[in-house]
């Protein structure tokens, strides 16, 4: 009996003491998590760089010796030699390099619109091709050529290659010029739509020419 009573008693006591889950609010304090999220966000924003470097494709000739008769002859009047020298200076002349009759040289610079601007000179001399390339753009505007980047590119390079009277530029970076100058002049080739250009070494007579041109 006593046992039963005790049980009852304990039962009663248990009922009384029953641990009830506290009704706490369902909200959790999210502040630390948010702090962390923003910390990470700031970190990743600051470390990301979006601008991708661009490239400029160049093709050099195969280095093997070329037989004299295989060389392409180019008319001298179409050829411009551009010699890059110290302190961003350019010396250019029309025609081919001939040690016996030194060509008339001109001094140029990389300015866009100055009196000695190489950009202006190249544009003027390459007007024929430049205008034709421009005509491609016009045809795109008028809907004659599909407005797709690669198709336009194809047309343009075809125009550049087809024009046999276009300008030919020989780029001759001198020992004292900088890489920047080379990239700048290659850039000019792109801007002025010069289809045919090459990077060539200076000949001895041209080195003299550089020395003598002040």
């Amino acid at each position: 009996m006593a046992e039963v009573q005790q049980q009852e008693g304990s039962e009663k006591g248990g009922k009384h003491k029953k641990v009830r889950a506290k009704k706490s609010s369902t909200h959790i304090d999210m502040t630390p998590m948010v702090d962390l999220a923003f910390l990470l966000l700031t970190f990743f924003i600051l470390t990301t760089t979006f601008s991708k470097p661009k490239t400029m494709d160049i093709t050099m000739p195969v280095k093997d010796q070329i037989k004299e008769e295989d060389r392409t002859k180019v008319p001298a009047s179409q050829t411009v030699s551009v010699i890059l020298t110290k302190d961003d200076r350019i010396i250019w002349y029309v025609g081919i390099d001939d040690p016996n009759t030194p060509p008339e040289t001109h001094v140029g610079d990389f300015s866009e619109n100055g009196p000695m601007s190489i950009h202006k000179m190249l544009l003027e001399k390459n007007k024929l091709v430049y205008d034709q390339v421009k005509m491609v753009d016009d045809s795109v505007k008028r809907g004659l050529i599909e407005d797709k980047e690669d198709i336009i590119k194809q047309h343009k390079s075809a125009v550049k290659a087809a024009e046999k009277k276009g300008l030919i530029v020989l780029i001759k970076p001198d020992e004292s010029s900088k890489y920047k100058n080379l990239v700048d002049i290659l850039d000019e080739m792109l801007v002025c739509n010069v289809g045919r250009y090459a990077i060539v070494d200076l000949s001895d007579s041209e080195k003299e020419l550089v020395k003598n041109t002040k």
Binding site: M30, M33, V34, A37, F38, L40, L41, F44, I45, T47, T48, S51, K52, P53, K54, T55, M56, D57, I58, T59, M60, P61, V62, K63, L84, E112, N113, H119, K120, L123, E124, K127, Y130, P173, D174, E175, S176, S177, K178, Y179, K180, N181, L182, V183, D184, L186, D187, L190, V191, I199, D201
Partner: protein
Amino acid sequence: MPKIKVPKKSPSLDMTPMVDLAFLLVTFFMLTTKFRPDEPVIVDQPSSVSEIPLPDKGVIMLTVDGKGRVFFNVEGQQMRADILDRIAEQFKVTFDEKQKKRFCVLASVGMPINKLGEYLSSDEDGRKKMNLATAGIPIDSTSNELAIWVNSARKAAPRYSIAIKGDRDADIPTIKRVISILQDNKANRFALITNLEAGPAEAPKQ
């Protein structure tokens, strides 16, 4: 006059949308960020109007800094391991496993071959010091190590394109030498890495 009682509002805002957005951005940046190891040299590239982007993968990169030092870089750990093996074979030197592993995770390397082992074994500080002191990969005709680097890389990765990342002030003889080494290796097409520049608006009117 009876006082107007402003109903007591809880001062806490519902921040859920903001948090959602924050996490969205975190995820985005985490996924788009690519961590790359420290470059040993900082190169200030010249700018051009060219808009061809540099491909993400498959580039053999030759860096020429302002002092004319040449560094070599290829991405992809597998590829780097392969190239190092070929180079070790060419130069008849051996690298232990630890050095190989180190090479795989590094960025550009510009060490002459006799110092490469030491470079790979040293810790970060040591490497930094060596990078400051190095003269780059030798390119002169007596010890033309760059040619062997390029050759090994071309053999390991024939489809990779070659890019030259030159500093504005890199001198022309070095650049010409690098180009001629590439030509010797029958690599006649390559890219010069530049920054994008706002091009001249239009040709001047004549």
